[in-house]
């Protein structure tokens, strides 16, 4: 299962801006809340996180050493 951006449904106000900017159609608004659609196309551009004004969608980076 591909790692995908994280969604906090409680914070989402359903504005749909993240859906608008997502270049790989990995997001959809379902029942006024953003929902993630798993896709290998997601290249972690973090645009969804950048435009979200409520902090409902986040793209955390794993920080690892070379050997990991």
């Amino acid at each position: 299962m591909a790692e995908m951006p994280a969604i906090d449904a409680q914070r989402c106000d359903g504005c749909g801006l993240c859906v608008n900017v997502c270049p790989c159609d990995a997001l959809a608004i379902v029942d006024k809340v953003v929902t993630m659609i798993e896709t290998a196309e997601c290249n972690w551009c973090t645009d969804c996180e950048a435009v979200c004004h409520t902090g409902a969608i986040t793209c955390p980076f794993e920080i690892v050493g070379q050997e990991s």
Binding site: E3, C15, L17, N20, V21, C22, P23, C42, N43, W44, T46, D47, E49, A50, V51, H53, G55, T58, C59, P60, F61, E62, I63, V64, G65, Q66, S68
Partner: protein, 237 residues
Amino acid sequence: MWPGRIWDAVRVRSMTVQLDFLKRIPYFSGVGLADLESIKKLIFEKTADRAEIVVLEGEPAENLFFVASGAVRVFKTSAEGKEQILNIVRPEESFNDIPVFDGGPNPASARTMGPVLLYGIKRNDMEAIVRNHPQIALNVTRVLAKRVRQLVSLVEDLSFRHVINRIAKILLEQIRDETSHVPRLTQQEMAAMAGTAREVVGRSLRELEEQGAIKLDRHRIIITDKEALQEIMAASS
């Protein structure tokens, strides 16, 4: 050279500007319906697809834009092609304000982040609106003052703070404990930890990658050269 299609691909649409939407734009806050109706007649619509350049740095400024839907990234590009994001413009917010009011060329470029609908006003029309509506003149002053405050903060980050050194420190701190726990941080969290803006973190990460200290691998930041990262961190003191 530009990472997106250019302005001429942007299409002008038929006039369906919504009055309710205009009322929510900070420029038109507190303006009466009759005045808004007359302003509405001066507004045109443009649509653009993802990754289109809608304003090009250095070109003459012809229009002020409000984002009706979608989002627009405003950025500067260096001679080496590096980008510095200045702002992300969301619905109800404006861009290209500065050259419209000072008459100079566009100080930055603007590229759509997804499909967008823009409301535009020609420079001369905007000047007439400001002349005739003191409330709008006051609103414009507030919007521009807020913009100046944001840009001053960005100048401070880019000029006086060694953000890249602090980002290096933050990354090194995350891998200090050799436990099974894999630390995870968003760019927003790194920005908060470094006392800077998210836009500056993105640039710092790219610089660290260019210097060979890290590698950005989708959702991973791989520290490829710990010693180089330590040297960058130490350079801040």
